[in-house]
Subunit: 337 residues, 2 copies
């Protein structure tokens, strides 16, 4: 049914090899034959079969992007960055949404093994580093956004969680807060424990004693943040500020505050992370840490593609990117001490 390379060759009066050469510019072809071939291709509406091409050339020009949740502007922005670079370099991307399930992530990594994709970019991986390292050891190409992975063939890009968490706490302390809640995501995520670490460091440097009861887990989503906050209110603990490990949970904090009649920011200051689009629209506007998402995606894609094309590894492969604390209304109230 479909038209194949031999059909084109037949019409053009040349061999399939020559047609291939014309299409791939892989060796010199005289202007006359190139012409004949192009005309034949046009006439027949020929499109090279991708599977055959992939099989013979041992590459698919496809990158898999493994993401916990595409309906989250943080990831969507990163993907945009990846997609634009990939498109420019004639790579396709397969987006794999794991819906935050570790086993789906593992399953999608199999696309590397069966050679459906030439390489994979993983956004904040759920699987253990060890697994990624083993893949890289076997020569599979992968890159990581949002986490540092120790393997000299794995490019990665991330923001320094510890550092910006310290900045957040510093800011809250400057505003006169000492009793600061930390809302964490799932415990085994880097983003959780590193942000916690920064929080603890900052407390220490201000000689503020750590109160473990002020740390709660909100699973990185709005519902979780809401419930965590409710638990804190119910325990009647004293605190004047909340540092939520992402904006989603901060939204849950807003909701709980509305329910319990707490005013933001004068009764409770709130800071989140991700600079989710909503944080600019909600009332009061939400202070948040902004990461250059698009750029992160673009840089990593660039690097990975570079490695895949030249089959060598890059001079620089670890990128630690600076993030910016955006101070908005939710933390702009200065407490008298």
């Amino acid at each position: 049914m479909d038209v194949k390379i031999v059909d084109v060759a037949m019409i053009a009066g040349v061999s399939p090899a020559t047609v291939s050469r014309v299409l791939n510019h892989t060796s010199k072809v005289s202007a006359r034959t190139r012409d004949k071939v192009m005309r034949a291709i046009e006439e027949l509406g020929y499109h090279p079969n991708a599977a055959a091409k992939n099989l013979r050339s041992q590459r698919t020009m496809t990158i898999g992007v493994i993401v916990p949740d595409i309906n989250n502007s943080y990831f969507a922005e990163i993907i945009k960055g990846i997609e634009n670079i990939a498109y420019a370099q004639h790579y396709k991307i397969i987006i794999c949404d794991t819906q935050n399930q570790k086993e789906r992530e593992a399953e999608y990594l199999n696309l590397l093994l069966d050679r459906t994709i030439d390489g994979a970019i993983i956004l904040t991986p759920l699987v253990e580093d060890q697994e990624l390292i083993e893949l890289a050891d076997k020569g599979y190409r992968l890159g990581v956004v949002g986490k540092y992975v120790k393997h000299d063939q794995v490019p990665c890009i991330y923001t320094d969680n510890v550092k910006f968490s310290q900045e957040v706490v510093q800011h809250l302390v400057d505003q006169g807060h000492r009793d600061i809640v930390f809302l964490s995501g799932y415990a085994d995520a880097v983003d959780s424990y590193e942000r916690l670490e920064g929080y603890l460091k900052a407390l220490r440097s201000h000689h503020i004693p750590f109160r473990p009861e002020l740390v709660e887990n909100g699973n990185f989503n709005e519902q979780g943040g809401y419930e965590a906050m409710k638990r804190l209110f119910e325990k009647r603990l004293s605190f004047t500020a909340v540092y939520a490990a992402n904006d989603e949970m901060a939204l849950g904090v807003y909701q709980a505050c509305a329910e319990y009649g707490m005013r933001i920011p004068d009764q409770l200051a709130v800071v989140g992370v991700d600079n989710n689009r909503i944080s600019r629209y909600i009332q009061p506007t939400l202070s948040s840490v902004d990461q250059p998402k698009y750029t992160m995606g673009a840089i990593l894609a660039e690097k990975l593609i570079d490695m895949m094309n030249h089959n060598e590894f890059a001079h620089q492969r670890v990128f630690r990117i600076d993030s910016t604390l955006l101070i908005r209304e939710s933390s702009a109230y200065q407490r008298k001490s």
Copy 2:
């Protein structure tokens, strides 16, 4: 370097054909040989090469999803619906973000022609129906979300733009408005002109004369909505309500209102479409038309996969889904007449 089916066959002491049979359950294999084969596969860590498989079997078990902008929760939700169905049916999906460029959309449709994908789902296509129809005529499998396409091999699902637009206008009229702005997206998008059509119909049925100067184009994004609104304010036209063809543009309206000191909803009522997540968080909360996005994606994927699997076309292929007008604060102010 990689382990191939012959290697497995060698170790298991059988022929490649038998290994293939074990893997694909394509004909009876004795328990003993199945065992040997499975052990060999395990031992060698064998993964069938996708390209070879695709080439021989003439299918890739992959669906392309072509979308104007993944960083838009409307599309992201639809994709979620598609992804979940696809995953359950062992299909992979390739997400292609066209960034609203017609030529990219066309380029991505080539994935059908070169057999990279078995079928495509297009979310609110930019290309002409004619092009899609031609593809379908040639036997390529495709489905459409957000638009009706007249071809008995193309399943499609959409909400009735004309109908819900009439509802929106009806609601605004009920609130005492007669001078209602319509903010359109790009003119050649179905969603634009059908929503305009509903707007016009509603006006007619209320014997409200149509004022062409109250129709502006905002390109479906926030910036466009903002600029369109500014133009209207600058012209000093009289109006008391805005129907924006999507929520993004409605956000632009909010921005313009803030700048021009217009209060929503008492000086200006606003209604949008899509029930973007932000519409619940912004102040005042934004009235909007909600479409069952996830479900739309899921139904269409189900249908398309069904057609691909059984290679026959479905009994029902056109789905017109009901949408719901959610009335929130931005249009809840009753004008005295």
